[in-house]
Subunit: 356 residues, 2 copies
Amino acid sequence: MKKHNFYAGPSILSEYTIKQTAEAILDFEGMGLSVMEISHRSKEFVAVMEKAKQLFRELLNIPDGYSVLFLQGGASMQFCMVPYNLLSKKAAYLDTGSWASKAIKEAGLFGEVDVVASSKEDTYSYIPKNYKVPADADYFHITTNNTIYGTEIREDIEPGVPLVADMSSDIFSRPMDVSKYALIYGGAQKNLAPSGVTFVIVRDDILGKMDRKIPTMLNYQTHIDKESMFNTPPVVPVLAALKTLEWYKDQGGVEAMHKINLEKAGLLYGEIDRNKLFRPNVGDESDRSIMNVTFVMDENYMDLEADFLAFATEQGMVGLKGHRSVGGFRASIYNAMPLTGVQALVDTMKAFEQKN
Amino acid sequence: MKKHNFYAGPSILSEYTIKQTAEAILDFEGMGLSVMEISHRSKEFVAVMEKAKQLFRELLNIPDGYSVLFLQGGASMQFCMVPYNLLSKKAAYLDTGSWASKAIKEAGLFGEVDVVASSKEDTYSYIPKNYKVPADADYFHITTNNTIYGTEIREDIEPGVPLVADMSSDIFSRPMDVSKYALIYGGAQKNLAPSGVTFVIVRDDILGKMDRKIPTMLNYQTHIDKESMFNTPPVVPVLAALKTLEWYKDQGGVEAMHKINLEKAGLLYGEIDRNKLFRPNVGDESDRSIMNVTFVMDENYMDLEADFLAFATEQGMVGLKGHRSVGGFRASIYNAMPLTGVQALVDTMKAFEQKN
């Protein structure tokens, strides 16, 4: 049976990414060797790294003066690398979920942290507005998409100080203006590659202003100088990232992905709003994530929660169970999820409504 | 043509590891999904992580009181994590090569570093002996195998203070007494998996004695508490590591690997010592690495260096060029290199001698 993969992360990747990666693992570019067992300094792998960076730049229209890095450790490592490199006295953070709150905790080890707003008291079900970012903050940190709660900052904001964004789960989901950001980072395991590689886009001129000594591996400048090859990069995740980027280009780039993402999200939110059995977790439409759609049973049908999950599982849907802190359901509909997958979920919701 | 892979790292992996990893990327355990796109908290992936740790313990006979961790960042990240977690006042280091020297540099950010001995002046062509480790050192750090120079500490030493070892390139090459070490770490891309996962074996009771604040991701205790799942682990490298560990067990464990490693190294060093065209880089037999065999042209045949490399390449040998700081050749004959591969190289050396 065809599986519909709604996992929040690691999550669905394009068939092209999966097949090409498997092929490279068996025999990389006709070398008679696996991509897993060749030197990262071989011309064949250096070309992978170069092409991945170049496509990253091309697809996101990254201006000159920014570096693209492929590192390790996930967004969680960036929670400490960002303040290690950028927090001199004070940083401002927006608290929009549990990942944002982990980033805030980590920054506290390095200096003063001003949490300008939080939606924690309402289980992070909206994006705070009308906050004020102090003009003397070294940077302002946001988490653009909150996978657990299903909220998203879907526009490039201008806080008046250098903007740092964790875009682990919505990079490449929409066209964006990179020039409005000082640093963008994310784990790859949503819209890019399997887990194990972390992307960083950094404006070069914000670095080198710290007094503190930064360990070599935690210093962005190390990786800029060595073009992400200071030490051995994670070759399979980088190769898979390249394949996803090639697929994006072939699909028409981020503009095309955005168009279909809006269509997918519109279809699913439409059904949640219509179907009497369900209600959305996020009320404000402008805050709704187009990557992670969270919903719960309507209060009149709470007893059907386990039944719906079982019914959807029978239809080949996986990964629909909501995070324990929100409950209900979460359909992660990242770039690689086709419209037909979302349609299958909507059909399942309709059929379940008919049954009940 | 059959390729013989002598790359120093990333490097040869067993056919079993390669095929099983490719299969899991196409369809993991009949789930109808790639291992790259399932949640790391799915029961299927949790089982991978658990089995890998359990086999690690079994193959190295790791005593109770030690944790096995799978992290990211490579040995280079450990160069800072070790002192972050263990260096209170002073640490002792043995300088046996460029990786050891990078570890020394990093430790210097955290406290006093006593380099008890170095073979740097002789291009690291031997392992220093008769050094004295200060009894008040927090730990003594060694790099057991020096891939660039072809030297190796092939026995478990007892320095009288907690012993920390970078075993990136010789873990699983011989039986060892883990109880003599406080912490062992390494990048996986030699005897374990593709790059992107870092193993750490740590005696739990040496942790928690620091005054300094340790960032969450750099604190070993974080990963012990969360069983290497604090954040998303690198799923493909961990899966591949499990496959290599399964293959080791099937081959008869580290005792069996050691026996064949000695045979392979004996065969190749024997030919280097015999063949008039070549001479070994490491004179003292007890210092010679059984993982990386370095050799150069004899001084009377220096002009044949490029010719030999071209000749060997024609025979399907890849990765034989020596590191620029040593020159000549380096044959990396890790666990996954079969005796037939080493025999093919020896035959090539003999044939080249005949031609000249």
